[in-house]
Each structure stands twice: as C-alpha cells, then as structure tokens.
Subunit: 169 residues, 2 copies
DNA sequence: AAGATACGTCAATATGGCTGTCCCATCTCC
DNA sequence: GGAGATGGGACAGCCATATTGACGTATCTT
C-alpha cells in the first residue's frame, strides 16, 4: 500500500474558499441591484393602492396564464393565507379573474383581465427599461454570466420550477 | 450631398428593445436568486430572535467599521426610526457598540463587538457557501458578467456609495 | 448667539408575512 | 358508494419591518 503523498504546500484554491472580497461584492451588488429594481415600480403600484406582493402575483400570473393557486404558492413560497389576501385585492380591482379547471374542477385557474394585462405591461415596461439598460451597458456575454450565477443560487430542488417558467417562450 | 440610405429592412435590435423573454428571465432569476440567498440565513437569525433587517445592519457595520448612523441610513435607504429599532435590538444583544466621533462628537461610530463579529462571520459563511458554489458552477467569466449587469441596475447616483464599500479591500 | 446638523424617541399606521383552525367541494381509490 | 385525500377559502390573531409626523438634545458652524 502506497504511502499517501503529503498535502501540497500551496493547494490550488478551492472554489469554496474564494476570497472574501469576491463574495462580499456579490452579496452587495445583489442587494442593491435587487432592491433598486424593486423600488423602481413602487410608485406606479402605489397609485393603484397596491404593493410589491401584488406585483409578484400579477407578474407570475401574466407569465403563466391558467396557473393554479397551488402552483403560484410554490413559486412565491408564501402561505395560502398571505396569497389569499393578495389575490382578493387583485380580484377586487378587476385585475385578475379565475375559472375552475376543466380536468379538475377543484382547481382555480388564474388569469389577468384585459385591465390586468395592461397594468402588468405598464409595470413590466419599467422593469424592461432598467434591465435592458443594464444589459446593454454590460454586453451580451455578461448577461449570460449574470444568468448562470443566479441559476446557481437557486436550490437544486427549485430549478425545475424556474425552468418551467421559460418553457413556452 | 448624398441621398440618405433607406432604413434597413431588419434594423439591428436596439438594446432597449431586447426581447421580452430575456428581460423576464432576468427578473425571475433575480427574484429567485435573491430571495433564496436571503432565506438561507433566516434560521440562524431566528435562533437569536433576529430578522433580515438586523442582518443587513450587521453586515454593513462589519463591512465598514466606524460607519456613522447617517452613512448607514443612506446605504440601507430606510428611515431613522426603522434603523433605530434595529440598532437598539443589536445593542441589547451586545452585538454592536457605538462610540462618539472624535472629529465630530455628534456622530456615533458603529462597530461590532467581538460577539457581533463572530455572529456576522457565521452568517457570512452561509452566504459564502451559496455564492461560492454558484460562482464555481458558473465560472469566472460569468462572475464578471454577473457583477457588471448588477452594477448597471444601480442608479447612477448610488454607485459611488456602493463603490465606496469596496475601497479598502 | 443663531441656526444647522446628527442622533434619539414617542406615537400611530401600513404592508406583508406567519400560525392555527375550520370549512366546503371535488377527486381518487377501494 | 363511501372514505379519505386534495384544492381552495376564510376567520382570528400575531409579528417583523417599514412608513409619516412631531419633538428633543447635543454639538458644530458661522
């Protein structure tokens, strides 16, 4: 049996021991980038008496028409009660409508009304402007890297759900 | 004088009119990436009866020892009252201590106690693990792109502040 | 001495989460 | 056909985190 070779004096840096600086930079940019993007639509939302939670629901319903309640719950990862309030507000403002499922009539299929589509599109335009400007300044290769890193931040068990959002585009 | 050439039938796509798909992908990855990273430390925080707001303050104080209250307020972009509660909680748990400024004694300079440093380091380790794994999976060029895009999302007037965090690293 | 600035604090309110509990309609499976 | 599982709704109360507004005190600047 061979004698194990001694550990190298200067082992190759493991990716798990990246310099602290690089990690902190990511944490900070993610914090500022996310919060600033989010805040950019607060005013428009407030004009309708809505908040960020409403936008998130609106966004994912726009993204996947005929989404069910339980699918939306998985995406948002909040409780049924929290989502209930949000959906009630959106229905009361005639932005979202529901129909019962054809295969399973217990399900409720969520859709935006015409009004809801217009409102979501207005909010999306603000997001598009911010993101498109950032994409353009960074260049296409950077955008790919941006996506790759963010994908890596999503726990493996959630990736299928995220990927499913892209499927019919 | 030359006759102007007609507009091309298929103009190059302007960065401001990126395909909706690419923008939505960014919005979604940012949402999932940010929220998942954030949630990854909730349990540890909860063990100490603290929340995310406390972590944010702790993080930036760790990052810039002797930060003043008003500097921290600018970074977090919350009100004095909101921050006050958070800092009181952190002081009560002996994680943060303050001294008055030497040049200007009205200022309070914020620092972590030894206990605070240890706690912040523990939280940072969790963030490091997540981010380092994502960085490693994506590759170094991707990390650069990730940073570039996020920088572009920060409003111009805030960039100096973000850059200042990196200055002494 | 007057005014501006840095920080603290009291009070009330909004938003968006949470737990726990109970309910109804419908589907599935024996 | 009946039992149990599942999809969704609702009531009640609570917590964390943010807000606005007003006021107070110490200190710096001029």
């Amino acid at each position: 049996m061979a004698v194990p070779s001694p550990a190298p004096a200067t082992p190759a840096a493991s990716p798990l021991f990246l310099r602290e600086h690089e990690v902190r930079r990511g944490v900070e940019l993610l914090f500022f980038g996310y919060t600033r993007l989010t805040r950019s639509i607060d005013e428009v939302l407030a004009e309708h008496g809505l908040g960020r939670a409403h936008h998130r629901a609106l966004y994912f319903i726009a993204r996947q028409p005929d989404l069910t309640i339980s699918e939306l719950l998985k995406i948002l990862a909040i409780t049924k009660q929290s989502l209930g309030r949000v959906l009630n507000d959106l229905s009361a403002r005639n932005l979202v409508e529901t129909r019962s499922g054809s295969a399973d009539r217990r399900q409720k299929l969520l859709r935006l009304t015409e009004e809801g589509k217009a409102f979501e599109a207005q909010l999306f335009e603000a997001l598009r402007t911010s993101l498109a400007t950032a994409y353009a300044a960074a260049g296409q290769e950077s955008v790919t890297g941006f996506w790759r890193v963010l994908e890596g931040l999503i726990p493996v068990e959630d990736r299928a759900m995220v990927a499913a959002l892209q499927k019919d585009v």
